[in-house]
Structures are given as C-alpha cells and as structure tokens.
C-alpha cells in the first residue's frame, strides 16, 4: 500500500484513498474530427508503460476528489514528484538523474 501525497490536501495518505488513472499527459485531441485512426488509437490505448521514471495520474477519490500527477520509478515504486493537474510535464530524465537512476 503506497503512501501518496496529495498536492491539494497537502498530506500523505494511504493508497487506498486514491485511484490511479494511468499515464499522465495524454491529452484528448482538441478536435477529434481532425485526427486519424492512428492518432486516436494512440490517445485511447498506446502507452509508454515505462520501466523506470514515469508520470502518471492519480485521483484523491476518497479525499478531495482532485486529479493530480505523480512521477514514480516503476521499478522501486518510489515517488519522485507530485504536481497538480494542468501543470506542465516535468523533465523526467532530469528527475531520474537526480534520483540516481
């Protein structure tokens, strides 16, 4: 049971309060009518599934209800960064480097 930090509540809570909602920064195309089937399948299903430092979405579903993002090392399950939804994607390589990965 991971320990997850909610950037809105400013507390760490047990994972059971949260729902993980997959890879972060996969935006729904702004104008779906203009995108190809390939683009659409990329949005729907294609995931980097990174072994290593990875940005993912969490929702504090049994807390404040907010979505936010986390950077986690998927090998050790260590969280390296938490940030609010809408903030730009951090430099994962830099984070990995700093974490000594």
């Amino acid at each position: 049971m991971l320990l997850v930090y909610c950037p809105y509540c400013d507390v760490e809570r047990a994972e059971t309060e949260f729902a993980c909602r997959g890879e972060a920064h996969i935006a729904r195309p702004a104008d779906p009518t203009q995108v190809s089937d390939e683009d659409w399948v990329n949005y729907l299903y294609m995931r980097t599934n990174t072994k290593g430092v990875y940005a993912e979405r969490w929702r504090h579903i049994h807390g404040c209800g907010r979505f936010f993002n986390a950077v986690r090392d998927t090998v050790s399950d260590r969280f390296l960064k938490f940030y609010k939804a809408g903030e730009t994607m951090p430099d994962l390589e830099a984070i990995a480097k700093e974490a000594g990965k």
Binding site: E38, L44, M46, R47, N49, K51, R72, D77
Partner: protein, 417 residues
C-alpha cells in the same frame, strides 16, 4: 535426448543418480540464427520447441535476461481452462487444452496436467447470465463447460460454503471438467529440454539491449549483453517487459504492466479437490500436489515492475477465500509473491506480426497466460515460420485496437444495471 521413464529412474537408482545428463545445455550464442526468441518463459520456449519440431527451423536462439521460466511462468497459480466467451479466445485456449492433454508424453516430461475441473462461481443474477452465455457459446464452439446448481457445486467441491446467509451467496457455477492445473516449472523445463534436444540454443543471463533494424526497416538482429546476434526474424515473448523490448524497435504497444500477486498456504493433507474461481469477489484457489493451497490475488492499480504488490490486495483476496471456505481461516500464508502482467485494453493477447518486417510479438496475456502456453507457442511458431498467422491467432492482431475489432473478454464482466 535420453528418455525419461520409471525404468530409467530405477536404473539410475543403482548408480546413485550419478549418470543423469543435463536437461539442457548452457551454450554461448552463435553469431547468427534464423530466429531469435526474446524471453525464455513458457511461451517463448514453446515457440522455439514448435519452430524446431513442426517447422524444421532448428537455428533458433532463446535469449533470456534471467533464468528460464523465472518470470510469470514460475509465478502463476497454474490454472488451465479454455471456457472463454468469444469464439476467437475459446479457439485459442481450446487449442492449448488439446495440447495439454498429451503434453507430458509429447515432451517426455511430466508436466502434471491434472484435469481437476475449474469451477467459476456466480454470485449475482448478472453473474448467472454471464456464466450461461459462456456455456452456450462454449457448447457451440465445442468447448466443454457446464452449469452446476449450488448443491451440485458443493458436491463437486465439498469445502464450498453455499449457505444463503453469506454476503454474496453462491447462485451456481460454470464447471469445465477438462480444466485444472499443471506444474508450472515442469512446463518451462519440459519445453526447454525438448527444444534444446532439437538444437535450440537457450541463452540465459543475457539481456537484450537493442533490436537492430536495417535500411528498409526490417529486423536484422538483436543487441545483447553477449554481443550482437544476427537474425532476420525476432519473436518478442517478454510478458511484462514487452513494451520495453518493443520500444527498442520503435514500436509502441497498447500494454500496461501491473503487479499481480499470488500466495500459498502451508502444505496440508488433501482438502480441496478442484480449482474454484470467483471473478465477482476476487478469489482463485486450488491445492497443489504438495498440499499448499494456491491462491491468486488481484492486480494493483498502478503499473510496476517491482514484482511486489500491496497488502490490501492480499487482504481482499483472503477475505473472499475465507467467506467461501470459512474453515480455511485458520490456515496460514506461507509465501506471497508477485509477477508483472502485461494487460491489453480488451484483456485478450496479441499474437501477431508487427509493423516491422521480421518482428513478431506474443504478449498481453494479462493474468491468465499460463493456460495458453502450449497453444500460444504452437501458433506463434507458425506465425514466425510462415510469416503469417495461423488461423487461430489471426484475430489477435495489434491493429484490432485501431480498427475497433476488440476481443473483449472484460466485456463479459460488464457493469450490471
């Protein structure tokens, strides 16, 4: 290959078992093979075996980062069944059942396939509808599966609690009698020994670090910890690590890798005659030949390569087991472990050519790949040898996610009204 038999065993007893040969070699990789298989799990080894056995392709290397059979093959709950909903799936898994039935003899290695019966419980009206749909579909497809009333279910599995006053009473069950269990390690070892005897090189402790593609985009070989190995055909059978390997060839996959836990109890005398599964309350249980209760838990909610999951997942599995089998509450967990399962959006595997010439992929088995091992290896070998899918795996493409022709086994568990 020296054949195994009771006689051979007795003979060797006289020489104090000093003269048994190696079950497989530990070769150094050659510079080139016709086919390189990435991943020496059950599926990869079976693929190599059938490439050599059925397609005459003997120049095959199976490259394994760790030790053979050390991934999900050696970490699963060993359930074998084929009562899947869609005819595509049932065809694939039933093909495997056919091979399971003669596998010990085929490989001359006792894989202990035991048709103990797999019973899938229904706890709600919706479950009953879903189970009935499976049974009808299976009957048409020629897959054995039958309906049991709660009383019949209890007769088949006496420890089962069919009291009406439990939280989710058992309303019946779908029973596949040819389903059961097999010995997971023996499957990997049997295929390894069989493939090795047919000339396949199994190269362990050798990580693949890259996939080399030529000017025309086609595969030229793999970079490994032991140097470059040339091959015009590369089959990736890397389970949870498929995304990472495919990324080396620049192919994005519709996969996510989740931790999946399983656990066993301390060994006890025979107490459980079959396999029982409950998708609704998340319980999967059987008893091993050794006497351990083998219990499958669920996946964690986040992707991870840690091979470890949270305790709340075990808690939720064990509470379900204790509801269904309340006298197991005093039993004790001996060992708990985790695997990394690669899951596709429709919960069905991918057994397919890829956009890259010469690159083939076999993945996405999620939480249930063990049961398919022989069938998967068999049709994947065909796909690689012929450069076109066997008709059984033809529907299991990557492209189905783009076009929308999903084989959605998860849909069977669609939300209730």
């Amino acid at each position: 290959m020296k054949r195994y038999s009771f006689l051979e065993l007795a003979k060797n007893a006289f020489s104090a078992h000093q003269n048994w040969g190696r079950q497989w070699r530990a070769p150094e990789p050659k510079a080139e093979y016709d086919v390189v298989i990435v991943g020496a799990g059950g599926h990869g080894l079976a693929t190599a075996y059938y490439l050599a056995k059925e397609h005459g392709v003997h120049s095959v290397a199976v490259i394994e980062k760790g030790w053979l059979g050390g991934g999900n093959t050696g970490r699963n709950t060993t359930i074998v069944r084929s009562n899947y909903l869609w005819e595509e799936s049932a065809g694939l898994y039933n093909h495997a059942i056919g091979l399971w039935q003669g596998l010990s003899q085929e490989l001359n290695y006792n894989v202990m396939y035991s048709a103990r019966g797999v019973m899938m419980l229904a706890h709600t009206v919706h479950d009953v509808q879903v189970a009935q749909r499976h049974i009808h579909a299976n009957r048409l497809a020629g897959v054995q599966n039958e309906w049991l009333t709660p009383e019949q279910a209890k007769e088949y599995c006496p420890p089962l609690n069919i009291e009406k006053n439990i939280r989710y009473p058992v309303m019946g069950a779908a029973l596949q009698r040819v389903g059961g269990t097999a010995r997971h390690d023996a499957v990997a070892w049997g295929y390894a020994r069989g493939a090795d005897a047919l000339g396949v090189d199994i190269i362990q402790n050798c990580a693949v670090t890259g996939i080399r593609r030529g000017q025309n985009g086609a595969v030229e070989g793999v970079e490994t910890a032991k140097g470059f190995i040339k091959a015009k055909k590369v089959g990736v059978v890397a389970a949870g690590h498929t995304s990472t390997i495919m990324d080396m060839a620049g192919v994005r996959m519709p996969l996510e890798s989740f931790p999946l836990q399983a656990l066993v109890s301390e060994p006890v005398k025979p107490a459980f005659p079959c396999v029982v599964m409950s998708n609704t309350i998340h319980a999967y249980i059987s008893q091993s030949d050794k006497g351990e209760l083998v219990i499958g838990a669920g996946t964690d909610q986040f992707i991870s390569y840690s091979q470890a999951g949270g305790i709340h997942i075990s808690n939720h599995t064990i509470d379900a087991i204790c509801e269904l089998f309340p006298h197991f509450r005093r039993m004790r967990m001996l060992r708990n472990w985790g695997g990394i399962v690669d899951v596709t959006p429709d919960r069905s595997p991918i057994l397919s050519k890829t956009p890259v010439q010469g690159l083939y992929v076999n993945c996405g088995w999620g939480t249930g790949g063990f049961k398919a091992t022989p069938g998967s290896g068999h049709v994947f070998a065909h796909t690689i040898a012929k450069d076109e899918p066997h008709k059984i795996n033809a529907p299991f493409t990557i492209d189905r996610f783009r076009t929308g022709r999903l084989i959605d086994e998860a849909a069977a568990a669609a939300v209730a009204h």
